[in-house]
């Protein structure tokens, strides 16, 4: 994935940063105080609310219902549906027919790991000079105040899968699932999965070929097994060791199936290779990320009961591992019975989580294109709500508006899958979220570009 980003870099949209930033030196005391105030004063505590009169989408694949009600108490959904009574004491909010959905979940991102991806000092996605790989845990690097988190939240994204980028090994480290709330506790689940590159990028990390990737994978997992058998005697320092002790230990839950393994592959043949790894390591709990050619081997993916997180709109042979790319990939896999989620597999992964609704909307558009395979509206919404939650093994906690799930709710000013629409209210864990961000402040400052009696810098 980063390969593609690099290829694009000098078309115009270059991302790599060089010069040493002096931003930190210039940051004023006042800014620091303002940040502190924001942390302590918002958001409001969770209270019981009942949203009524909504065009209500559950997020489980079902189609929207009219005049729906959602009741949230103690941060969780407690009742949903048409004809649900508003409990006493709950704050009633009349949606007046507006759309209400579960919070959008980004099935694949790097949000919070970079403020400005092209500015190296702000970018914690990869550690090119670290002696560690599989043991790397992104959770402490996630910055809940990264502006892309606030911008994504304003667009209705409430949770995200956050993966590290592979740097020195096929194993990139352990990713997290986060919420995008305006508070200092972003982690829904740390060490939620291990991430490994097994396609073109993996071959590069493994020394130059796919054959080396597979061998490297097997040997590293065997070393993890050795570590598990006798931790004290595992020598991660010998020249023959592929893994140091810390990385070996980190791969133990992968071998045992205690931790999901998210594998990035794009081509049909690489997908089959990955599925066959279970012959040697039967407990592997696989998640496929990428899978641009997944439609070609959908029956095998279904048989293996492996969820897929894909880009959705990728339809170009942008690399030789994506020759069979088509926008019908998602529709065909869903039709075959694969559990499919969508995420940012093709770049902008720290920034554009709000592309989720566009990805989903385009799946609906395909249903009207002769010969193409798309998704119904409800199925499309599922790929950016309950499906990614389920893929991460957290479907019981969030991703749909069902009793017992997290109170992640978005009310929209129009059909959420239309690009002209936006949220009018967002709740995460039942807490109403601020919808201002740096971009809305810039917008307001420059609503008229000309300066008044005083410079723009005094308008805030």
């Amino acid at each position: 994935m980063t390969v593609q980003t690099n290829l694009r870099s000098l078309r115009a949209k270059s991302r790599s940063g060089k010069g040493i930033s002096i931003v930190s030196r210039l940051r004023s005391k006042r800014t620091a105080l303002a940040i502190l105030a924001a942390v302590t004063s918002t958001p409001a505590l969770a209270q019981s609310i009942a949203i009524t009169g909504a065009t209500l989408a559950i997020g489980d694949g079902s189609e929207p219902i009219q005049n729906g009600t959602v009741v949230i108490a103690a941060g969780k959904v407690v009742a949903v549906g048409a004809g649900v009574a508003v409990p006493a004491g709950a704050k009633a909010i009349d949606a007046g027919g507006k759309w209400v959905t579960p919070g959008i979940v980004s099935g694949f991102s790097r949000v919070g790991l970079a403020e400005v991806p092209g500015v190296r000092e702000t970018n914690d996605m990869r550690a090119t000079k670290s002696p560690f790989s599989a043991a790397i845990d992104v959770a402490p690097a996630i910055n809940p105040f990264a502006n892309p988190i606030a911008i994504s939240r304003t667009a209705g994204i409430t949770r995200a899968v956050v993966a590290p980028v592979a740097a020195t090994s096929i194993f990139a480290g352990q990713g997290a699932v986060v919420d995008l709330g305006a508070d200092m506790n972003p982690i829904t689940k740390a060490r939620a999965f291990q991430y490994v590159e097994m396609g073109e990028a993996g071959a590069d990390e493994a020394g130059g070929s796919r054959a080396a990737t597979v061998l490297t994978f097997r040997m590293m997992l065997r070393e993890a097994q050795e570590f598990a058998r006798a931790p004290a005697s595992y020598d991660g320092r010998s020249r023959d060791a592929l893994l140091n002790r810390v990385d070996a230990e980190a791969l133990v839950p992968v071998v045992t199936g205690a931790m999901p393994l998210m594998v990035h592959v794009e081509s049909a043949r690489d997908i089959l290779t990955v599925l066959s790894l279970r012959q040697d390591f039967p407990a592997l709990k696989l998640i496929l990320a990428g899978a641009t050619e997944g439609w070609m081997v959908a029956p095998q993916i279904v048989a293996a009961k492996v969820p897929v997180i894909t880009a959705g709109l990728e339809d170009l042979p942008s690399s030789f591992e994506k020759l069979a790319a088509t926008q019908s990939n998602v529709g065909r896999m869903v039709k075959a019975g694969v559990s499919v989620s969508m995420g940012l597999l093709t770049g902008d992964d720290a920034l554009q989580l709000r592309a989720a609704t566009q990805q989903a909307g385009n799946m609906v558009a395909l249903t009207k294109v002769p010969g193409a395979t798309g998704l119904s509206w409800g199925q499309a919404l599922r790929t950016i709500t309950s499906a990614p939650a389920e893929a991460m093994g957290l479907g019981d906690r969030f991703g749909s508006l069902k009793a017992g799930k997290a109170g992640d709710v978005v009310m929209w000013d129009g059909d959420p899958l239309e690009m002209t629409s936006a949220p009018v209210a967002v709740w995460i864990d039942g807490v109403q979220q601020p919808l201002e961000n740096r971009q809305t402040k810039l917008r307001d400052r420059y609503a008229t570009p000309t300066e008044g009696a005083m410079p723009k810098a005094y308008e805030w």
Binding site: K18, T326, M419, T420
Partner: protein, 466 residues
């Protein structure tokens, strides 16, 4: 050496032997220069594009956005012999015995124009061997022409046609250099050669870049420019030389031909349009002053993520802004990008364009425009759908110097037309049919009316609905 490397070596050797011969032949075929050593051949790589066969076609009962801000409900469009012959309301007279499409519930627009594309020069697949968009061996390369890098077999062209309704696009060199080279405008038709795509009569553009890219690329090489002041200094030194060259040329004095100077002299004489990559408001202001210092015009700032901060200045100077719907923050100079950029520029009375700069984005420029439109309306800027369509039609056409030929649905103009299966600002809408110069080049209901490049032919999924 692996097999691929050996093949490349053989190819290089073959190219080495064939090159001079081919060059000689070309030279012989050219008309003899009529005046001194500075004489330039007129149009040495001419367009060979001819409109493909079309048939008289009428679409009726559709909602029409004419591309200049006009709207017709239950409208009629009549295409014949490559041109728009009639457009109007339901009573528009049409001949009796020709093909009529019912457009009930559908929308008609002029073909989408993308003013900023790298299709063909950064083709799919994105391997090094096809990476031909930036000649990053010098910050000043006005002598290179993007058309000489275009690979017509890039599958991206066909996707832009079928999914995006793109009928015309400007292919630019990248932004690694201050003077990146000449751009070229093409019709989005498949062809064996770039000449077969070239938009007849379209003026060339000069790609310039300010900001982070040139200073980073050359700073990393330990060369000038390594700063923004270095960027401007190298720009200005180059314009001084260009003015000298242009004066001599205009006076008919002999001088050795210089390809880069020819391009810059054409800019100074207003024949080539400046397409300037620039993000920050303060830098755009510096570049505007530079253009006045040397007496040339900037046609459009590209990317222009901070145009909203100086929309008044851009209006006063008659400069267009080609912008994204919502890209922001991927590098420092993009940090202040906001979704309202396009509507704020529009509202200020300056020229607003939505561009892609991306092989995926070009397939959904209508949706990128919708993002901006919605954001604008939410802050109280009430722009109608038909007015917003100018961002993808007449505005880019003007900034590419082709507004007399295309960019709107006016009688006599090229019949570059898209029939959409719904409102094109909806995510649920796709092109149903696309005509280029009156020829039906894409039809969603006819699997055969969809281009398959040589590269994809015989590959898995060739001819698949993409």
């Amino acid at each position: 050496m692996n097999g691929g490397g050996k093949w490349l070596l053989i190819a290089a050797l073959l190219a080495g032997t064939a090159g001079p011969i081919a060059a000689k032949r070309d030279k012989a075929a050219q008309p003899a220069p009529s005046q001194g050593t500075s004489a330039e051949p007129d149009n040495p790589y001419p367009s060979t594009y001819k409109p493909y066969p079309g048939r008289p076609t009428v679409i009726r009962n559709a909602t029409i956005f004419d591309g200049e801000g006009g709207r017709i409900d239950k409208g009629v469009v009549f295409l014949n012999e490559g041109r728009i012959v009639a457009i109007g309301g339901p009573d528009t007279p049409i001949p009796a015995d020709i093909a009529v499409f019912d457009g009930t519930g559908k929308y008609i627009t002029p073909g989408v124009i993308d003013i900023h594309s790298h299709l063909g020069v950064y083709a799919s697949p994105g391997v090094d061997a096809l990476s031909d968009g930036n000649e990053m061996t010098s910050p000043v390369t006005p002598h290179v022409w993007a058309e000489h890098s275009i690979w017509p077999q890039d599958p991206g062209f066909g996707r832009a046609l079928a999914n995006g309704g793109v009928t015309t696009l400007q292919i630019l060199p990248g932004s690694g250099n201050l003077f990146g080279g000449r751009s070229v405008t093409v019709k989005n038709v498949p062809a064996r050669t770039q000449q077969g795509m070239k938009f007849p009569g379209a003026p060339y553009g000069l790609k310039m870049a300010c900001g982070e890219n040139p200073k980073r690329v050359y700073g990393a090489k330990g060369r000038e420019p390594s700063t923004r002041m270095g960027n401007l200094a190298v720009d200005r030194q180059t314009w001084i030389k260009a003015r000298e060259y242009q004066k001599k040329r205009a006076a008919g004095k002999d001088q050795t031909r210089d390809l880069g100077m020819e391009t810059l002299a054409d800019v100074l004489e207003g024949k080539i349009l400046v397409q300037n990559h620039c993000y920050r408001a303060d830098e755009m202001a510096n570049v505007i002053d530079m253009s006045k210092e040397f007496g040339y015009r900037i046609t459009a700032f590209h990317h222009a993520v901070e145009s909203y901060k100086i929309a008044d200045l851009l209006r006063e100077n008659g400069i267009c802004s080609a912008m994204w719907g919502d890209w922001y923050g991927f590098k420092m100079e993009a940090y202040d990008g906001i979704k309202e950029n396009v509507p704020l520029v529009h509202q200020a009375g300056a020229c607003a364009i939505v561009h892609s700069d991306d092989q995926d984005g070009i397939q959904r420029l209508n949706q990128e425009a919708a993002k901006a439109l919605g954001a604008g309306r939410r802050m109280g800027i009430n722009i109608s759908d038909e007015a917003a369509w100018t961002w993808l039609a007449i505005n880019p056409a003007r900034a590419m110097g082709i507004d007399q030929q295309t960019g709107s649905l006016k009688v006599g103009k090229m019949a570059d037309v898209v029939l959409w299966n719904g409102n094109p600002f909806s995510t649920y809408t796709r092109p149903e049919k696309v005509w280029i110069d009156g020829a039906l080049m894409y039809d969603s209901s006819n699997p055969k009316l969809k281009p398959v490049t040589d590269f994809e032919l015989g590959q898995i999924g060739a001819g698949d609905v993409k």
